[in-house]
């Protein structure tokens, strides 16, 4: 796959109170951002376990963003 056509799949683990709310707001404000992102809401980024990050890569995501 050459890099110009490659659409990455990125998992975003977003804290309910911070980044998820920010993403919500971005939507409300009609701010454009890449469609590469798959957002999963977590109660707090402290809840995210190392093994879950690894499992994401095992499942084939190209990157993980933990946002809180």
């Amino acid at each position: 796959m050459d890099s110009s056509t490659f659409e990455p799949k990125i998992l975003a683990l977003c804290c309910r109170h911070c980044a998820y709310a920010a993403a919500d707001l971005a939507g409300a404000m009609r701010i454009r951002y890449p469609t590469s992102i798959r957002i999963v809401e977590v109660p707090c980024t402290g809840r995210v376990e190392a093994v879950e990050l690894l499992h994401a890569f095992e499942e084939g995501v190209d990157g993980v963003m933990v946002a809180g």
């Binding site: 190392a50 093994v51 690894l54 095992e58």
Partner: protein, 226 residues
């Protein structure tokens, strides 16, 4: 508690050789609380092994299990049924757990995934310091509760040595001099004269120097043996 540290991914893959199906076995006691070989670490290592072996071109199928205590027959016996389907077991328990597995299940090799390092105290989150070497003849009663065997670099019974400077051991500035600590505590209790008594050489026969040690408590045994 017994404290260990996980081996590197490289070393573990080297140990696994050309195994195709591996069971990673954790232990729910000491190595869980020192974050070396509990259920979490089993999950992380297994995932890492699956990915790395795949990338290296020799994919290994890795399953996970964690028992409450790998150093007791009762807890490992239920694994028996499962073992036939694996080429090898990778244990994240301490050296006792690894050997228990090898003794109980002689037909399958159990490999060590961690280095068992010491009997240590978690002095703060993420820091373990050695406190005991299981010498078999505890002297804490005459050293004001500070172990010169585990904590003095030279295992002196009459200290400190000439290398003790400003409370620090000459071997490494990060090591507090155990004998300074002992004298300080004696001073605190106003009993420094007790340390003036010269201690005779320690009987290391009760330590490792007397060969492997064994405790037999006839009153606890269920089987009679002559």
């Amino acid at each position: 508690m017994i404290v260990g540290e996980q081996k590197s991914l490289e070393e573990i893959l080297g140990l696994l050789g050309d195994a195709k199906k591996v069971l990673v076995a954790g232990c729910g006691t000491c190595v869980t609380v020192c974050f070396a070989g509990g259920e979490k670490e089993v999950g992380i290592l297994s995932s890492a092994l699956r990915m790395k072996s795949e990338l290296d071109g020799h994919p290994i199928a890795v399953d996970e299990v964690t028992v409450q205590r790998q150093c007791e027959w009762e807890y490992i016996d239920p694994l028996k049924e499962r073992l036939a389907e694996y080429d090898v077991v990778l244990s994240l328990a301490c050296g006792i757990g690894v050997q228990a597995m090898n003794e109980r299940f002689p037909n399958i090799i159990t490999l060590p995934g961690i280095n068992t390092t010491s009997l240590s105290l978690p002095v703060e989150q993420g820091v373990w310091e050695e406190r005991c070497q299981a010498c078999g003849d505890c002297v804490l009663g005459i050293t004001f509760g500070i172990c010169p065997i585990a904590r003095c670099s030279k295992q002196l019974m009459n200290g400190p040595c000439g290398g003790s400077q400003n409370g620090v051991c000459e071997v490494d500035p990060s090591i507090p001099c155990a004998w300074q600590l002992i004298w300080d505590r004696a001073n605190m209790f106003g009993q420094m004269e007790r340390l003036l008594e010269v201690q005779p050489p320690k009987n290391w026969g009760q330590s490792r120097d007397g060969g492997p040690r064994k405790i037999v408590r006839e009153d606890l045994r269920l089987t009679e043996r002559e």
